[in-house]
């Protein structure tokens, strides 16, 4: 097991954990994790089904209480979450615009009777940035899976997030679409300086774009957090994903990963 913090002390972390223990009913499902996420970094949260990815993600999002340790975010950090499309209710009659408009909501902002001009501008920019402006009046449920993901990304961007968490955003896409989507996310985080945590078990494309990996394995009680190269060298990670990452792991370990400082 390796558990390391990434070395970039000059920028303030948007998320820090210290021996963070996640689980249910006070029972941890993973060993403690220590890591820090800084602006502009792209982390891939990897693990097999049932490995504890969702538990860790829900704890980071504040939807589950931590079992132990600390999880720190600066109080003013704007956080956005891109859920899996299947988790959204298909019977709610939502247009694309209605969904992206949710991105500007925060705290008690819904008490204002109308959306302000500034908020409308942010919604419009998010639609443009994700190429979904032509879909604005369409019904969400009638879109393709790829279009739905872009709309949800627009909703996340409308909140001008400093930390963006994406839960398997490419699960319904083919390989080409997946690579395009991940590259798009990587471009956005570079352009906007947003820190991104991307949950994925389609690893090759995600790892190519990422700086860091959070690897979790509840079955073997393994966790690893750090730069791509050091996590790729972790024996449990190697054993778990040798088939999925294939030559990518070997190439990266041989040549050194471009993001590893």
């Amino acid at each position: 097991m390796i558990t390391r913090t990434n070395p970039l002390p000059q920028t303030k972390a948007v998320l820090s954990t210290e021996s963070l223990s996640v689980g249910y009913g006070g029972v941890p499902v993973l060993p403690p994790l220590t890591f820090s996420v800084r602006p502009g970094e792209l982390w891939v949260l990897a693990g097999r089904n049932g490995s504890g990815k969702s538990t860790l993600l829900r704890t980071i999002l504040g939807l589950l209480p931590a079992v132990g340790g600390t999880l720190t975010r600066p109080p003013s950090t704007s956080i956005a979450y891109l859920p899996q499309v299947q988790s959204l209710d298909p019977i709610v009659p939502m247009r694309v615009w209605d969904i992206v408009a949710e991105g500007v909501e925060s705290g008690w902002s819904f008490l204002k009777p109308w959306i302000t001009a500034d908020q409308k501008q942010r919604i419009s920019e998010a639609l443009t940035r994700t190429g979904t402006e032509s879909l604005a009046k369409r019904s969400f449920v009638e879109l393709s899976e790829g279009q739905k993901q872009r709309v949800l990304l627009a909703r996340a961007l409308a909140s001008s997030p400093e930390l963006l968490l994406l839960d398997e955003p490419t699960s319904a896409m083919d390989l080409k679409a997946e690579e395009e989507a991940i590259n798009h996310i990587a471009d956005l985080r570079r352009e906007l300086g947003t820190a991104v945590i991307l949950v994925s078990h389609h690893l090759p494309a995600a790892i190519k774009a990422a700086d860091h990996i959070l690897f979790v394995d509840a079955e073997h009680q393994g966790v690893a957090a750090g730069g791509v190269r050091e996590v790729l060298a972790d024996p449990i990670f190697h054993r778990q994903f040798a088939g999925l990452t294939g030559d990518l792991c070997v190439d990266m370990l041989k040549d050194g990963h471009r993001h590893d400082a």
Binding site: L63, L88, I91, V92, P93, I99, G107
Partner: protein
Amino acid sequence: MTPSLTDFIAGWELFRDPILCGLVAGAALGMLGVFIVLRRMVFISAALSQAAGLGVALSFYAQIHLGLVGFMVDPRLGALILTLLAASMLRLEPRGRLTREGMLGLAYLVASAGTLMVGTRISQEAHDIQAILFGTGVLVRPSDTTWVLISAALVFAMVVWWRRGLIFASFDPDGAKVRGLPTTLLSFAILGAIALMVSIATRALGALPVFAFSILPAMAAIALAPSPTGALLLAACFGALGGVGGYMLAFFGQFPVGASQTLVCALLAVGAWAIRMGLNPRSSSRLSLPRA
């Protein structure tokens, strides 16, 4: 002999309150029904209206057998307290093998059995109990009309003001929580509004039409509306139409009022779904299915 329009106009003084009650309760419950349908809690209003019935029965019991008088044993207050108690119980997250459907069934059955059992001890008020269980919108007391108007005004104000938060929390509860919306409060607010409206409307109109108003207009609206705000408005219109149209059907067809209002609401729901399926045969995705 079938009553004529002249008969209706001649008796307007008599019909005004029940029609107004049907219109306003239909609109308010129709709008709240959008949240009930979206949260897959369609039997909540059935359970709550039975709880309201038990509250009324217990109030009469306290008056008759315990000799209590005054505001504390007002049947409306009894209905509201029991409805709020049931709503707060149903607000609890199901745990383990206890499902929400099971909790709804338990609340419905306990309240129904309780109402019938207490009803046997207050035979003087048996007519009131029957009216609550099966509906009687023929004659509505002016005080009940006033309470329905006040409750509906509160519900309309809350839903219109908080609609963005309520819709976000219904469509994507986790997303809303991550963005810092007070999802627990929003959930309590909507359940509180349902409890208030159901308890007051059940006392005035009966359990059957109240159950119908809180489900069928929302189903119709969700089938046709392009947006969530559109669904709220359409559901309010359909509910109002069901309340008034049902009363007219009952008057001219000599049918029971509650059943007629239910039938009109059901026709609106079936008609709306027929239109939706006709416009887009593959778009049945808004028929509510259990959440994955």
